[in-house]
């Protein structure tokens, strides 16, 4: 549609607040962070330009490398385990089985509790000597498996990650909302053709939400994974031996050291990693438009049922 000259004024007026907000609260801070990343600055004394030295230090720092790795794992787990779990629950509950409202509430409930509170709760569960998990293991005769879950190299990161994976409510409700908008005639046709619930989910529901809510949830979950902080901070503070550190926690520690240059350089790396992740995810899901996708999905389903 060609834009009329008379439309430009109102359009600009509508866009301007958003553009101003974006520039003030995102563009300028990012430019500032990039600029500081080339400095040695303790926040008080005059800054000294040190070029790429901060980036070189990050490259050599094993703790930072470990932080990036942990963030990438976290983002992948979020995008490809947590969201699929949420999708399965969304598909099941969208069929409105008995008690679906109850389960929807139960799954969503952790979302209204602060991450700090949840981390504190799980810290108590994982506690080596008074924790519920070890107590349970001892009670069922598996006392040998009891350990300091958050203080052992092999178990600390999985322990931090695993409980969080099951907090799927946020993504579940997004996908449920999307699923309810799918035209019921597709399902009715599929039932006439003899498709099972599973086949309907595979050949109708998933293809139709793939490029909408599923893509949104994977993007959101991956971004959440990349910026993890409070959980790790509360549960392990990055320990033991930096095995659970994340980029944001690393950045926070450098700020505690009043090393704003290095903290900003790690923030820049986080932005770059985030952009790479989001672009890759969108490329993976890129395809034809929704209508074409619907037609393709229906054809595929019919082929499968023949």
């Amino acid at each position: 549609m060609k834009l009329e000259r008379s439309d430009r004024g109102p359009l600009l007026a509508f866009l301007l607040p958003a553009i101003i907000m974006m520039v003030v609260f995102f563009v300028i801070p990012v430019i500032y962070v990039v600029a500081v990343s080339f400095l040695k600055w303790n926040g008080i004394s005059a800054p000294i330009v040190r070029g790429f030295r901060n980036y070189l230090l990050l490259y050599k720092d094993k703790a930072f490398a470990r932080s990036i790795l942990n963030n990438v794992i976290w983002a992948l787990v979020a995008g490809f385990i947590q969201v699929p779990l949420a999708m399965v629950m969304a598909i099941i509950l969208s069929r409105k089985p008995k008690g679906w409202k109850f389960f929807r509430t139960v799954y969503f409930f952790p979302q209204v509790i602060s991450g700090i509170a949840l981390a504190t709760l799980w810290r108590a569960i994982y506690s080596a000597d008074t924790g519920l998990l070890n107590g349970l293991l001892r009670a069922i005769g598996l006392g040998d498996a009891a350990r300091d879950w958050l203080g052992t190299i092999e178990t600390a990161f999985p322990a931090v990650l695993i409980y969080w994976v099951f907090y799927i409510g946020y993504y579940m409700v997004i996908m449920m909302a999307d699923i309810t908008t799918i035209d019921t005639s597709y399902y009715e046709a599929a039932v006439i053709d003899g498709a099972s619930d599973f086949q309907q989910a595979i050949y109708i529901t998933i293809p139709l939400i793939k490029r909408t809510s599923l893509l949104t949830c994977i993007t959101l979950a991956s971004v959440m994974g990349l910026r993890q902080f409070e959980q790790v901070y509360m549960l392990t503070n990055g320990g033991p031996a930096n095995t659970t550190s994340t980029i944001v926690l690393y950045m926070y520690k450098k700020m505690q050291d009043s090393n704003y240059g290095l903290a900003s350089a790690s923030a820049v790396i986080l932005i770059i990693v985030g952009v790479i992740f989001i672009v890759t995810i969108r490329k993976l899901f890129e395809g034809r438009g929704d209508k074409a996708a619907q037609r393709k999905a229906i054809k595929k389903a019919r082929r499968a049922l023949k």
Partner: protein, 423 residues
């Protein structure tokens, strides 16, 4: 109906907004004081009373508004950020995790030298400002001091067959074995969170080995590698899960009477006397004794004491002379020897102010003071002696050491690298 509800909601919100706005007299000077001496902090009760009294005495002229911050780390983050962004609070509390020298040099804080020279400085202990003044000017006041000496549960130790606290580290480890054999923990260690307890032990061991000049060569002093070896060994005699433990775990075990030796600053002494921590009506204090840091074979630290500045008071530079006067008046009020004496009595904490201890001072406080008075020399706690990066890296390096990821030299190298990274 909907419109009425919307209108009512709006009115409620506007009323709430207006009601929550503080009201001050036009010519009243308001002093903003974000404080950690609130909540469950041992100094909270008396400080609150002190500020209330000050406000009452200066009603209509000066009002100190306390912004309560119960999370110490969040407080540090907030203060660091506000100072960096040029909006330092009127008064704040700093500790050795801040780069005090850089802050003093920054010119962002009020120069208190003229006021101290008028006689106020005589209230402080001799030499209190020496290490923290810049070009002879004092802008950051050392206020709360701390000495670190072991306190032990003598009753528990007696159950393990010991009628005295070990005088040497060799003897100490013999005690550890006996204590563990009886099913108790010798001491609390923690590599989780900020590894505070273990960092204190590291200071004590390093002092015992390296003596008063332990910091002369930085971390190059072999005492730090040797101290790492001793600290690692201690983890065999602490409670399960010490690698991920926090201060609450260390405190909890000692309060539960399953750990013999406790190490923390004097501000914690008040907890020994709390009824809540009594068992069968017996106060924890009744079972406890104060010890001195054991000596190390071949070490240079006999008679030494580990100390630190636990709290500095700093005031932001003011453009209004009247407000500057008001801030100084308040600082003088809380550092008044009589008030500090009361504060010491109620909290157990120690201060850089010359005060006459109250006759009601607790026995444990008296004994800790006696240890401090008898010290042949003092050395700083590692977190004050090294840059902040040392303390930030300490938990990671310690857990790596305890879990066998690095050896003792690797532990020290990791700390050294962290310091260099920040330089």
């Amino acid at each position: 109906m909907k419109k009425t509800i919307a209108l009512l909601l709006t009115l409620v919100m506007v009323f709430g907004l207006v009601a929550s706005m503080p009201a001050y007299a036009d010519d009243e000077i308001v002093i903003n004081f974000p404080s950690i001496w609130v909540g469950t902090d041992s100094k909270a009760a008396y400080m609150s009373q002190l500020i209330e009294n000050f406000n009452a005495e200066n009603a209509g002229a000066i009002k100190v508004v306390v912004e309560e911050q119960t999370d110490y780390q969040a407080y540090r983050d907030k203060i660091r950020t506000t100072i960096t962004t040029g909006s330092a609070p009127d008064i704040c509390i700093l500790d050795t995790t801040f780069d005090i020298k850089a802050y003093a040099e920054s010119g962002k804080f009020m120069d208190l030298t003229p006021y101290l020279d008028e006689g106020w400085g005589n209230d402080f202990t001799d030499g209190a400002f020496d290490a923290w003044s810049v070009d002879g000017k004092v802008s950051i006041l050392p206020f709360e001091s701390a000495v670190f000496t072991p306190i032990y549960n003598a009753k528990l130790l007696a159950e393990c067959g010991w009628d005295h606290f070990p005088a040497t580290y060799d003897e100490f480890f013999q005690m550890c074995k006996d204590v563990k054999a009886k099913g108790f923990n010798a001491m609390g260690q923690m590599a989780g969170d900020n590894a505070w307890s273990s960092m204190l032990w590291y200071s004590l061991i390093a002092e015992a080995i390296g003596g008063k000049d332990v910091y002369a060569d930085g971390l190059d002093n072999p005492a730090f590698v040797e101290a790492a070896k001793v600290l690692k060994e201690m983890y065999s005699y602490t409670f399960d899960g010490a690698v991920s433990a926090a201060a609450s775990d260390v405190n909890g075990h000692f309060l539960a009477r399953d750990t013999v030796v406790y190490l923390n600053g004097p501000w914690w002494i008040a907890n020994f006397y709390k009824e809540d921590n009594a068992v069968d009506g017996v106060l924890l204090a009744d079972d406890c004794e104060v010890a001195v840091n054991p000596t190390y074979e071949g070490g240079l630290g006999e008679g030494g004491l580990v100390t630190t500045v636990q709290g500095f008071l700093a005031a932001a530079k003011q453009s209004d002379p009247a407000k500057e006067e008001a801030v100084v008046k308040f600082l003088k009020y809380i550092t008044d020897p009589q008030h500090v004496s009361e504060l010491a009595l109620s909290s157990g904490a120690m201060f850089f102010v010359k005060y006459t201890p109250s006759p009601d001072t607790s026995l444990i406080s008296q004994k800790v003071t006696e240890v401090a008075n008898n010290a042949a020399f003092t050395v700083l706690h590692v977190n004050g002696a090294f840059p902040t990066a040392f303390s930030t890296e300490f938990p990671a390096a310690l857990s790596a050491l305890v879990l066998g990821q690095v050896d003792e030299q690797g532990f020290v190298d990791q700390l050294q690298t962290a310091i260099e990274l920040a330089e």
